[in-house]
C-alpha cells in the first residue's frame, strides 16, 4: 500500500500508553476510553481508506467540559490529538497517528434547540447533516448545504471541511450557513463564537474555523441557519451529443443571468455507469448529461425553465425532459445520486477527486481528463457541480494492484494540477487532509503557506491538534511532490516538520 509521510513519532508517548489511558479514564467515563486493538480498529481510517493507522487510544467524551479537560491534559503532556466526526471525510483529515489519541465526537449527537423564531438550530456536532433537516422539515424548513454523504456525515465534520453540496451556487457552503459555534482550543480554553445573530463584530473567527480541518480547535456546538423550503422546485434533464455543446450550454445558462439551485453534469462514462446501476432512464446516446434544478415561485420557475430549454436547444441538445412532478424530478437525480456506488460496482476501487475550475473551462478540462485517462490507461467517470465549478472525477482501479494505485494517485494529482492551471483550486469541498497536502504548493507559495502556519502556531503553539494535515510536511514547497514510502521502508520517515 502507498504510504505517506507523517509527523515524527514521539516514542516516549507511545511507551506511556497505559498511563495515558488511565489518566484519560479519569477525565471521562472509563467506558469512553478505547485502547484495545479490536476496539480502536474502526478508527484507524476515514473514508480515504487507502491509508490506515492505529492510534494510541480513542476517547469519546460526552460533554464540552470533558473535551476541555482532555485537551488540557494532552496539551500539558504533549500528546497529539486527532479530532473525528463521523469519519466520512474523503481526504484523510481524520487519519490517526501512532502517538496520538483520536477524539471522537460521536456522543455529541443531540439537537439542543430548534428555534424557529430565530430560524436556526443549535446542535451538537455529531448530529448528521440530514438529521437537522429532518428535525425542522415538519414546518417547511431545511438546512441548505447538502453534501452527498449527508445521511451519514456530521455537522461538526461539515464545519471542519466547509462542506458544500449540489446547491452551493445559490445557497452557499457551510461557512455561509452557520451562525455560531462553541469551540475548545488545544489548551482547553472554551470559547463561543457568534450566536443566533448575524455578522459577529471583530475578527471572523467562525470564518476561520470553518474549513480548518480540525487544526485550530474542536467544535462542540454549532448553530446553523435554517431556510424555508422554496415554493416550487423543478428540474430539466438535458442530453448533449458532445462535451463541447453541453459545456457551452451550462456556461450560457449562468451567463444569461439564471442562478440555478443546482446544475449537475455527468459524462458518457458516468451516464452509462449510473443508468446501468440505478435504471434512472438517462439518454444513453448523450455524451454529456446536464441536470438543471430551479426553485422559486411557480411562474418564476416556469419562466426560467423556458429560458433553459431555449439555451439547450440553441446548443443542439439531443434530448430534453422537464420534470412534470416531484416524482419525476427525483428520478432525474436518482442516477446522479448513485454515481459513487455505480462506479464502485464497475471496479474494485474508485478514487474520487475534488477539483474546482472556472465553469467556462469545463469542456477543456473534461477533454484533458480523457487524454490523461488514456495516458494512465485507467477508466474515469466525471460528475461536475456545474453551478459552482466543482468537479469530481472518479478514477476506477484495483487497489490490490500496487502499480495501479500508484498510477491512480499520479493521475489524480495531474487532474488537480490541471484544475489549478485552468484557474481553479485543488479542493472544493473534500478538504486537503493528507491526500492533497503536497499539492498545496501548486496554489500557494512559501509566503502564503507560512502565513497559514503562523496562524496555526498562534492557536496551537505545540502543533498537537491534527498535525501533519493540510500543509506540506516537507520543509519547503520547492521539495514539492507527493511522498510515497514503500512498506519495507520506515513507516514514518523522520522528516523535518514544516
Amino acid at each position: 500500500m502507498t504510504q505517506i509521510a507523517l509527523p515524527k513519532i514521539d516514542r516516549s508517548i507511545v511507551s506511556r500508553k497505559d498511563e495515558i489511558v488511565k489518566s484519560l479514564s479519569k477525565l471521562t467515563n472509563s467506558e469512553n476510553v478505547l485502547s484495545h486493538a479490536d476496539e480502536i480498529k474502526p478508527y484507524e481510517t476515514d473514508a480515504l481508506a487507502v491509508y490506515t493507522q492505529t492510534p494510541l487510544a480513542v476517547v469519546l467524551p460526552e460533554n464540552t467540559s470533558e473535551v476541555s479537560e482532555i485537551l488540557k491534559y494532552c496539551y500539558e503532556e504533549n500528546i497529539k490529538v486527532i479530532p473525528r466526526g463521523a469519519g466520512t471525510g474523503l481526504s484523510g483529515g481524520a487519519l490517526p497517528l501512532q502517538d496520538a489519541i483520536v477524539l471522537g465526537l460521536g456522543k455529541f449527537n443531540k439537537i439542543l434547540k430548534i428555534d424557529f423564531e430565530n430560524r436556526c438550530v443549535v446542535t451538537q456536532p455529531g448530529v448528521t447533516n440530514l438529521g437537522i433537516t429532518h428535525a425542522v422539515q415538519h414546518k417547511g424548513f431545511y438546512y441548505a448545504p447538502d453534501p452527498s454523504s449527508q445521511l451519514a456525515c456530521s455537522i461538526g465534520g461539515n464545519v471542519a471541511e466547509n462542506s458544500g453540496g449540489v446547491h452551493s451556487l445559490k445557497y452557499g457552503t457551510t461557512t455561509n450557513n452557520i451562525l455560531g459555534v462553541e469551540m475548545v482550543m488545544m489548551d482547553g480554553t472554551i470559547t463561543r463564537i457568534g450566536g443566533k445573530s448575524f455578522d459577529q463584530e471583530g475578527y471572523d473567527l467562525m470564518g476561520l474555523i470553518c474549513g480548518s480541518e480540525g487544526l485550530l480547535g474542536v467544535v462542540t456546538e454549532v448553530t446553523v441557519k435554517i431556510l424555508k423550503k422554496p415554493e416550487v422546485v423543478k428540474a430539466a434533464l438535458i442530453g448533449f451529443p458532445s462535451i463541447q455543446e453541453g459545456g457551452d450550454a451550462a456556461s450560457e445558462i449562468i451567463s444569461s443571468g439564471i442562478v440555478p439551485a443546482g446544475m449537475e453534469i455527468m459524462d458518457k462514462a458516468l451516464i452509462d455507469a449510473t443508468d446501468n446501476f440505478s435504471k434512472a432512464g438517462y439518454p444513453r446516446d448523450a455524451e454529456l448529461l446536464v441536470i438543471v434544478e430551479l426553485d422559486g415561485t411557480e411562474s418564476e420557475v416556469n419562466e426560467l425553465l423556458k429560458k433553459v430549454s431555449e439555451i439547450a436547444k440553441k446548443n443542439n441538445c439531443s434530448s430534453l425532459k422537464l420534470s412534470k412532478n416531484e416524482k419525476e424530478r427525483l428520478s432525474f437525480w436518482a442516477g446522479r445520486k448513485a454515481a459513487f456506488p455505480a462506479c464502485g460496482a464497475m471496479a474494485p476501487d474508485y478514487y474520487c477527486m475534488d477539483g474546482v475550475i472556472p465553469r467556462g473551462k469545463l469542456s477543456q478540462t473534461l477533454l484533458e481528463i480523457q487524454k490523461l485517462s488514456k495516458k494512465y490507461n485507467l477508466p474515469v467517470a466525471n460528475c461536475f457541480h456545474a453551478g459552482d465549478g466543482n468537479l469530481h472525477p472518479l478514477i476506477m482501479f484495483d487497489g490490490s494492484d500496487k502499480e495501479q494505485l500508484r498510477k491512480t494517485e499520479e493521475f489524480g494529482a495531474e487532474i488537480l494540477k490541471t484544475c489549478v492551471r485552468l484557474g481553479g483550486v485543488i479542493s472544493g469541498e473534500h478538504g486537503i487532509g493528507i491526500e492533497k497536502r503536497e499539492l498545496m504548493c501548486e496554489m500557494f507559495n512559501d509566503k502564503d503557506i507560512q502565513q497559514q502556519l503562523d496562524i496555526k502556531q498562534s492557536l496551537d503553539e505545540k502543533n498537537l491538534l491534527n498535525p501533519g494535515k493540510v500543509y506540506p510536511i516537507l520543509k519547503k514547497c520547492v521539495e514539492e511532490g507527493r511522498v510515497h514510502v514503500h512498506k519495507t521502508e520506515n513507516k514514518f520517515p523522520d522528516l523535518p516538520r514544516f
Partner: protein, 426 residues
C-alpha cells in the same frame, strides 16, 4: 542612506507626509521598512469610512488609494477581480453594464459623514464588513469575497482563496480579513462574487401603529418562501417633530400616501413573479386588514437606496449606533428604545440603527449592555465630537480578545498596522 530608505524616497509622499505606494511591490517595500524600524502605520483608502473605529495613533500614514482599477471581470464566471482601492462606484458601474451587482448591497456612509454620496473603495467595505438591507437573505460582505492578495505586517505578499465559489484549500483568510479594519493585512487585490441583478423591484409599505405587530410581521416575512429581499421598519419615534419631518421629506413618494410608522418589504424578480409574490405575501400577512401602499420599480429602487444611504441620519452630529441582535428579541429592544431615541430597524428585525445625542452619552453603555443581553452586539459607528469614549467602540469578551491578539500577532507581530483601531492591544 540605506537601500530601503532610497526605495521609500521614491514612493510618492504628499505634503502631509502620507505615502502613496503605486503597486503591491511598493506596499511590501514600505511595510518591510517600517517593520524593521518598528514604526506603526495608519492604513487608509480614500477616507470615506475613516471615522469608523478608534482613532489610530500611528507614526506614519500610508494611503492605498493608488491601487485602483479593475483587473479582470468575467461576467459569465460571476466574479470581478479588482485592485483594493478601486472605487465602489466604478465597480458598480462596470457590473451594471452586464446587469450584475454585488448582492450584499453596499451602504453609502457619505450621507452620515457630510450629507453627500461617497461610497469609497472596495477595500473599505471589506475592512468594515457592513452589508445593506439584503443581508438577511444573501449574507454579508464576507460572504461575497472569493479571494484576496495583500501584504502582512512583516511586508510579505500573501494571498488566499481564488476566483471560485467552492474552495477548501487552507484557512479561509478572506473571511478573517473581512471586518478586521485593516489591522491584519494591507489589502492589494480583492476578488468578489457577483450575481445577476433582479429585473424589477416592488415595495409594499404597510402602515403599522400597533408596535406589537412589527415582529409578528418580521417573523412571517423571514419564514415566507416568497423570497423577500428587504424588510425595514421606520417608526415615527421618538416624538420629535424634526425627525418625523425629516423622514417624510426623505421618503416622499407619489404612491406613499400616508404618514406615521410603517414597515416596508421588498419583492424582486420579473413582473409576473412579483405579482405572484405580492398575492402570496398579502395573504400570509393578512394585509387586507392594513393600510398599504405599493411602490413600483421607479419608487422602490430609490426607497432602498435611501435606506442603504442611512439618509435618516444624514449629517448627524450625534452618536450613531449599529446594533445587531437575535431577531426574536427585537420586540424587547423596541420597547427598551421606546420613545427615547431615533432609530429604525433593518434586516427583517435583526439590525437597529440608533442615534444617541451627546447629552445622552451616558446611555450608550446601557444600550450596549442591553444589546449583549439580547444575544447581540453594538458598535458605535460614528461618535459625536463630545463623545468621552467611556464605552468602547467595539464589543469583545476576554477569551475572544485573547484569541484575536494571537491572530493579530501571526499577521502583524510588531503591531504596526492600525494600532488601537479596533481594540487596545490590537
Amino acid at each position: 542612506m540605506s537601500t530601503k530608505q532610497k526605495i521609500n524616497s521614491q514612493i510618492f509622499q504628499d505634503s502631509n507626509d502620507i505615502f502613496y505606494p503605486k503597486d503591491e511591490i511598493e506596499v511590501s517595500d514600505l511595510v518591510k521598512d517600517f517593520y524593521k524600524k518598528n514604526s506603526s502605520i495608519e492604513l487608509t483608502g480614500t477616507n470615506s469610512k475613516n471615522f469608523i473605529g478608534n482613532k489610530t495613533q500611528a507614526a506614519n500614514k500610508v494611503s492605498l488609494s493608488k491601487l485602483s482599477g479593475i483587473i479582470e471581470y468575467l461576467p459569465e464566471e460571476l466574479y470581478i477581480k479588482v485592485k483594493a482601492c478601486t472605487p465602489m462606484k466604478e465597480i458598480e458601474e462596470a457590473l451594471d453594464k452586464n446587469n450584475q451587482e454585488l448582492a450584499f448591497e453596499p451602504l453609502d456612509f457619505g450621507y452620515i459623514k457630510n450629507g453627500k454620496t461617497n461610497k469609497g473603495t472596495i477595500g473599505g467595505y471589506l475592512s468594515c464588513n457592513y452589508a445593506g438591507s439584503r443581508r438577511f437573505k444573501v449574507g454579508s460582505v464576507r460572504d461575497h469575497v472569493l479571494g484576496f492578495r495583500g501584504v502582512n505586517g512583516k511586508g510579505d505578499i500573501i494571498k488566499s482563496g481564488g476566483t471560485v465559489v467552492k474552495n477548501v484549500t487552507g484557512y479561509d483568510l478572506s473571511k478573517l480579513i473581512s471586518g478586521a479594519f485593516g489591522t491584519l493585512v494591507a489589502l492589494t487585490e480583492i476578488t468578489l462574487k457577483v450575481l445577476p441583478k433582479k429585473q424589477l423591484s416592488n415595495t409594499i409599505v404597510i402602515k403599522v401603529d400597533d408596535r406589537k405587530k412589527i415582529y409578528d410581521f418580521f417573523d412571517k416575512i423571514a419564514s415566507s418562501s416568497s423570497e423577500i429581499t428587504g424588510a425595514v421598519f421606520l417608526p415615527d419615534e421618538p416624538d420629535d417633530g424634526m425627525f418625523v419631518k425629516n423622514k417624510e421629506t426623505i421618503f416622499k413618494f407619489n404612491d406613499l400616501d400616508f404618514t406615521g410608522s410603517y414597515l416596508a418589504l421588498r419583492l424582486e424578480g420579473d413582473k409576473v413573479s412579483i405579482n405572484e409574490k405580492t398575492k402570496k405575501i398579502t395573504k400570509e400577512l393578512d394585509l387586507n386588514k392594513f393600510k398599504i401602499a405599493i411602490l413600483d420599480n421607479y419608487q422602490s429602487s430609490p426607497f432602498w437606496k435611501k435606506i442603504n444611504n442611512l439618509e435618516l441620519f444624514q449629517n448627524t452630529k450625534n452618536n450613531l449606533l449599529r446594533i445587531v441582535i437575535e431577531p426574536a428579541n427585537g420586540s424587547e429592544m423596541m420597547s427598551y428604545l421606546g420613545n427615547k431615541f431615533k432609530y429604525y430597524i433593518d434586516w427583517c428585525g435583526s439590525l437597529f440603527w440608533v442615534e444617541v445625542p451627546p447629552k445622552k452619552n451616558n446611555k450608550v453603555s446601557e444600550i450596549k449592555k442591553k444589546s449583549i443581553e439580547l444575544g447581540g452586539y453594538m458598535t458605535i459607528v460614528k461618535t459625536s465630537e463630545e463623545y468621552d469614549y467611556e464605552e468602547t467602540i467595539f464589543t469583545v469578551e476576554p477569551v475572544r480578545l485573547m484569541i484575536s491578539e494571537k491572530i493579530k500577532k501571526s499577521f502583524d507581530p510588531k503591531r504596526i498596522f492600525n494600532p488601537g483601531k479596533m481594540y487596545r492591544g490590537i
